[in-house]
């Protein structure tokens, strides 16, 4: 992410890891990501799912063969566009991956990505530590019984008939991943920056101090760990 006008910087990995799936329509002749070379893939540029889409495509073909078009932020609209045949493929996240599978669509690739928290200078280490402790407890509860919590994916999209028709048993729990939140490894942040720059998505060189507030990140994680030990 670029530096914020309010001094906001990244302060750690979040807990939920997102599954992104490259999906084609039921009648599509495409069965592998390679077959999407020079075919339009709809991406919600600027969002993690779009970056995941580029990464799935570039692993299967020369970059010059990657062909994308702008798509809606809403996965419901991307799914609808796919079913209308407006593009060859798109990237979906849950619960729309499950919706797509139930509609007969094929997943030709899946990947996972791990976003970050961004905070302003106003956030205190104590408040962020409290957030981290609560989230860590939630992670343990979710991992103890993922099926119990898939209703959250349904709740987000209540009123959409395709989602309302899903049951918790429809979900592949392997696509729902959470882990205890931790600091951002510098090599991962640098790689992400360089990768985005290689696609022309950002300009400039990587500056760790501009990207990550290491003081808040360190202090909060140390406080959170100390609180868990007492």
């Amino acid at each position: 992410m670029a530096a914020s006008s309010v001094g906001a910087r990244q302060v750690g990995r979040r807990a939920t890891i997102v599954c992104g799936a490259l999906v084609v329509a039921p009648e599509s002749p495409v069965f592998t990501p390679q077959e999407l070379a020079h075919q339009r893939v709809a991406l919600d540029y600027g969002n993690g799912t779009a970056y995941a889409g580029l990464q799935m495509l570039e692993g299967a073909m020369p970059r010059e063969a990657v062909t994308t078009c702008a798509a809606a932020t809403s996965p419901a609209e991307r799914f609808a566009g796919l079913m209308r045949g407006e593009f060859a493929a798109t990237v979906l996240q849950e619960p729309w991956i499950t919706v797509a599978e139930k509609a007969g669509c094929r997943l030709v690739a899946t990947t996972f990505f791990h976003g970050t928290w961004v905070a302003t200078r106003e956030v205190s280490p104590a408040a962020y530590a409290a957030l981290l402790r609560a989230i860590t407890k939630a992670v343990h509860r979710i991992n103890a019984d993922k099926r119990r919590y898939v209703s959250y994916f349904l709740r987000d999209w209540a009123g959409h008939p395709e989602v309302d028709a899903l049951t918790p048993d429809d979900f592949n729990l392997g696509r729902i991943q959470v882990k205890e939140p931790g600091p951002i490894p510098e090599h991962e942040a640098r790689w992400a920056w360089d990768w985005m720059a290689s696609w022309g998505l950002i300009d400039g060189t990587f500056d760790i101090a501009a990207q990550i507030d290491r003081r808040l990140e360190r202090d909060a994680h140390e406080l959170a760990a100390a609180g868990r030990e007492t």
Binding site: M1, S4, S5, V6, A8, Q10, V11, R14, A15, T16, V18, L43, D44, Y45, G46, N47, G48, A50, T68, A70, A71, A72, T73, S74, E77, Q93, E94, P95, G115, T116, W117, V118, A119, T120, E122, V123, S124, A127, Y128, A130, L131, A134, I135, K137, A138, V139, R141, I142, Y149, Y152, F153, R155, D156, I176, V178, P181, W199, G200, L201, G227
Partner: protein
């Protein structure tokens, strides 16, 4: 006195942990009053309006104008 933290809206696909922690009282148990704020629907812009070089994202908009202190990127 509880600490207060305001974050931008999360959905289950990227913030399941936050929603579970909120609903099960885990933030309150840590002395944190976590508030979740959503961008008004009329201000929401679709990524369909964007391009790879000029993408449209709604993340961080509330933080940029001082209405949230944290968001997920």
């Amino acid at each position: 006195m509880a600490m207060t933290l305001t974050i931008e809206r999360v959905m289950a696909f990227m913030g399941l942990d936050v929603l579970v922690a909120r609903d099960e009282g885990l933030f309150a148990a840590e002395g944190l009053d976590l508030r979740i704020v959503a961008l008004p629907s009329e201000e929401f812009r679709s990524a369909a309006e964007g391009s790879p070089a000029k993408p449209i994202t709604n993340q961080g908009k509330l933080q940029a104008r001082g209405e949230a202190q944290m968001f997920q990127a």
